[in-house]
């Protein structure tokens, strides 16, 4: 230490030689380049083959066409509202507030799969029900369910390949049957879905369908014990013999729903299936055996419907990973992919809604309506 009373000039380090300066500059450049490359890799820009949410949504758009402002899948739908009346029976398995006895308000949406909001209701045999439960404690439970017991594929990669195979051939405007056939032939896990689809008919009503969670989730009880589950909504209404869609009407589901709700609320029972330790939680193509323990957790009561263009469901992203305390994701690989792709779809359609630069104008009518 120098005597502080004697002012000393700052000790200048000895000057660097020219080669030393170059070396040191190269080290600095190297550190920066490595940082940028690592960032580019993690962000996917330098990993073009990685399956990203954007690629899945791009493929959905390639299959269905562009309909600005609409969801990229399950684009045709209608808003519904009501509540869930819990009977308390699921409380032993999940301490989510929604399962305590009482009512939780619900904003939901019925839809048909596909990215075309003008597709005829009879074009697919599948219907979907999405729900957002708004819990009193401010938490939410969002779920998107389909009217089939199993999903065609088990992984995001296989789902992406299925979408690729179903992309319309530019020459015919229709998917190439050879490609679709080849996809299913090389994906034996689709067998259960294909068996279901063979017997399935486009229903004349949303009200008469059961809706399955497809993916497994985990209920967590008050002691922290985890219970793998799947759930489904079972309708109280059943299809009458005369329930057939009117020929030539592309939008019969909406009319049917309005007509039924004018007569009174529509009800479903929330049936929760508890898994056996041997049941797969990571494979939505496999149904669990029918003898599993089931709980009737309560009744969903839907009271009103509104068009999706103006109703409260329009701005809700039914992300299946928005879950309250007491319900968790399982190890099903489809769940994070659904969450990620829904977020991308939501950002695209809200950007179109906001007329942000670089987005297509929202609510533009398609050039040709089917």
């Amino acid at each position: 230490m120098s005597d502080p009373s004697i002012p000393t000039p700052p000790a200048k380090p000895p000057g660097l030689t020219r080669s030393s300066r170059v070396w040191r500059a190269a080290i600095i450049g190297g550190v920066l380049v490595v940082t940028v490359v690592a960032f580019g890799y993690v962000g996917g820009w330098l990993a073009p083959h990685r399956l990203t949410p954007a690629r899945i949504v791009n493929q959905l758009q390639a299959d269905a066409g562009m309909f600005p402002g609409y969801r990229r899948n399950h684009a045709k739908g209608v808003c519904v509202a009501g509540y869930f009346q819990s009977n308390g029976q699921a409380q032993a398995y999940s301490d989510a507030q929604v399962f305590a006895p009482g009512r939780t308000p619900v904003v939901g949406r019925f839809a048909i799969p596909g990215g075309n909001p003008y597709a005829p209701d009879s074009s697919v045999p599948i219907r979907s029900m999405a729900l957002r439960f708004a819990l009193a404690n401010g938490q939410q439970w969002r779920t998107g369910m389909n009217s089939m017991p199993v999903f065609p594929v088990a992984t995001p990669q296989a789902f992406y390949e299925q979408l690729q195979a179903q992309q319309p051939d530019p020459a015919t405007g229709k998917p190439n049957p050879a490609k679709v056939g080849a996809f299913f032939a090389s994906h034996p896990e689709t067998a259960a879905f294909l068996a279901w689809v063979k017997t399935a008919k486009p229903s004349a009503s949303f009200a008469t369908e059961s809706y399955w969670s497809l993916n497994a989730f985990v209920f967590v009880d008050a002691n922290g014990t985890r219970h793998p589950v799947r759930w489904r909504m079972v309708p109280q209404s059943s299809a009458a013999a005369g329930d057939v869609q009117k020929a030539g009407d592309a939008d019969y589901l909406d009319a049917d729903l309005t007509q039924r709700l004018a007569q009174g609320p529509l009800r479903w029972h929330l049936q929760v299936t508890l898994a056996d330790p041997s049941d797969p939680t990571n494979d939505a193509t496999k149904a669990w055996p029918t003898d599993r323990h089931e709980i009737d957790a309560g009744t969903l009561e839907l009271e009103s419907t509104q068009p999706q263009e103006s109703g409260p469901c329009r701005d809700i992203n039914y992300d299946p990973l928005v879950l309250p305390a007491g319900i968790e994701a399982s190890d099903d690989p489809l769940l994070p992919a659904r969450s990620a792709a829904y977020a991308t779809s939501y950002l695209r359609r809200t950007s179109e809604e906001a007329h942000l630069p670089g987005t297509a104008a929202a609510h533009a009518k398609p050039e040709t309506q089917p």
């Binding site: 230490m1 120098s2 502080p4 000393t8 700052p10 000790a11 380090p13 660097l16 300066r21 040191r24 500059a25 080290i27 600095i28 550190v31 920066l32 940082t35 940028v36 690592a38 960032f39 993690v42 962000g43 996917g44 990993a47 990685r50 399956l51 990203t52 949410p53 954007a54 899945i56 404690n137 401010g138 938490q139 939410q140 995001p156 329009r314 701005d315 809700i316 992203n317 990973l321 928005v322 305390a325 968790e328 994701a329 190890d331 690989p333 769940l335 994070p336 992919a337 969450s339 990620a340 792709a341 977020a343 939501y346 950002l347 809200t350 950007s351 809604e353 906001a354 942000l356």
Partner: protein, 180 residues
């Protein structure tokens, strides 16, 4: 150690290095989670939200420390343009450290999402539900994060330039260790 090269206070140095690690992790988590469909997507988002709020709390503390203990002066012989760049980039870093967590929080609020920091810890919304505001805020969050990454690169490059080439005590005022 040279008595003539003043250092940042211990509090400032601890906050700097702690937040440096958190912010760098946050930038990688952010770009990684939105480019993934695997289980990483879910668990990175679970880290992203509480980490962002932790950064917001720490930057409030850090600004208070900085205003109370002004940083050591830059070397007298530093060119004026470099001095200006240093000043501007530091205030930009502060602005972004405040803006990014707040915009993230506002964006989730505008999207109607519950702002969950854990299984059951929920923050109140700070913005009314609005899909168009969500879109604007979501894009702003991404673009400002890119700006933060670029500012971080400039900061890192400048720090190494001071430490390895100019060797003027600027880097050691934050590391507390003088490189030769």
């Amino acid at each position: 150690m040279n008595s003539s090269s003043p250092r940042f206070t211990l509090a400032a140095r601890v906050l700097h290095w702690l937040m440096a690690a958190m912010i760098l992790a946050m930038l990688f988590i952010g770009v990684g989670m939105v480019a993934s469909v695997s289980e990483r997507h879910d668990w990175l988002i679970r880290i992203h939200k509480p980490l962002g709020i932790a950064i917001l709390i720490l930057v409030v503390l850090r600004l208070a420390v900085r205003l109370r203990h002004p940083p050591p002066p830059l070397p007298a012989d530093l060119p004026a343009l470099q001095k200006l760049a240093a000043l501007a980039s530091h205030w930009l870093l502060y602005a972004l450290m405040f803006a990014l967590p707040l915009i993230g929080w506002a964006m989730l609020s505008a999207g109607g999402y519950p702002v969950m920091l854990s299984e059951s810890l929920r923050l109140p919304p700070i913005f009314p539900v609005s899909p168009t505001a969500f879109a604007v805020l979501r894009h702003a969050h991404a673009w400002l994060a890119m700006l933060l990454f670029l500012t971080f690169l400039a900061h890192l490059g400048a720090a190494l330039y001071h430490g390895l080439i100019r060797r003027d005590g600027v880097l050691s005022s934050m590391t507390g260790v003088r490189l030769r």
